[in-house]
Subunit: 212 residues, 2 copies
């Protein structure tokens, strides 16, 4: 018997949250309330983790020089990616807006503390990658909770993780999982931007239940 | 301006979902409705993915021999993990129930299709691990949506990924991300089982907002 159940109305709203959650690249520049940011990190801390290791570390990047280093890294990595393409893909790629790093009021780097003793290694002997996966789930909790507050998140993966990690001067053993732009979005959409601009369409295999 | 906003009541219920979502190891054996399972996979397909690659592949493991192979793999990996421990940790570890594979009505293996052309490689030149991370987020969407239906999920990471992948005879290039037990939980809790039994406690660093 369930002692804490959720009703149909909630489930419908939750499905809407999944549908309206976007990877945002178009931000307004007005700042977030610091209390809200802390609340979102506290909610993210309720995420599942392998062996209860809780390895995620949320770092707000405030220092202008460090933010600039991350933006420079994106610019280099994005330029390299473009030079690796040709034909219509290159044209399309060049037209995409792939990060809102300049406008977003908040930059958040999320690391996995690979040296944490928490959890005593339980559950990750044969699949050590589950430690990083735990940090990914914390990022996604933050993302969903933020969207429910009307706050947008954009995950920037087009950057050099070593360069960004060095620029942020974090403890040894912290592995960069994500660099997030956070702020109020310019507009809302229920379809991914990469679908709307014709880069990629819905892949039905992702909604298929295979059987074996 | 937000065109699709969520109210305070929803946010409070969402926070409760995060708080009551558990990694379940104690399942009732009554089966799930197949329609519900398909609906949950369809919701999971709304998850974020790098470059809109949508690389997750959900595989329901129905065949008794394949299920048995996964259970055997867990038993071996769990035995190895126990033999690697000593003292009070070994005693505590031996007493933990770390999988509900025998009781759970549904086994679900989730893979990352590393060879998918979807997304055309966008966003993963410098951080290729973001493809697997996308599958992790789909797993977590499934998990949250399931919990909102009163259905429990338990992520088993104590197994040999190569052995389980081979037993499931999936296409080349599919990487095992998670093996999930799914079913109705025997009871509900708002605290992780590993906390309740004294294996690990809340790590405050996981709820800290660091600044740089």
């Amino acid at each position: 018997m369930s002692t804490h159940s959720f009703d149909r109305a909630f489930r419908e709203r939750l499905a809407e949250l999944f549908r309206w959650r976007r990877d945002v690249r178009h931000f307004r520049s007005d700042p977030l309330d610091p209390t809200t940011l802390q609340t979102l990190v506290r909610e993210a801390a309720l995420s599942p983790s392998v062996g209860y290791s809780q390895p995620w570390r949320f770092v707000e990047v405030r220092d202008p020089a460090r933010r600039a280093a991350a933006i420079d890294s994106f610019s280099r990595a994005n330029g390299d990616a473009l030079r690796g393409m040709s034909g219509p893909d290159a044209e399309k790629y060049a037209a995409l807006k792939l990060s809102g790093m300049r406008e977003a009021p908040t930059h958040l780097a999320v690391f996995c503390d690979c040296g944490t003793p928490s959890g005593k290694g339980l559950g990750r002997a044969t699949m050590p990658e589950t430690l990083a996966y735990s940090a990914v789930m914390a990022i996604y909790t933050f993302w969903l909770a933020a969207r429910a507050e009307g706050i947008g998140v954009g995950w920037v993966s087009i950057l050099e993780p070593d360069v960004v990690t060095a620029a942020l001067d974090v403890p040894e053993g912290w592995q960069l999982i994500a660099y997030l732009c956070v702020g109020y979005p310019e507009d809302d959409h229920d379809r991914p931007e990469l679908e709307r601009v014709g880069w990629e369409s819905r892949d039905e295999r992702s909604a298929t239940l295979y059987t074996r």
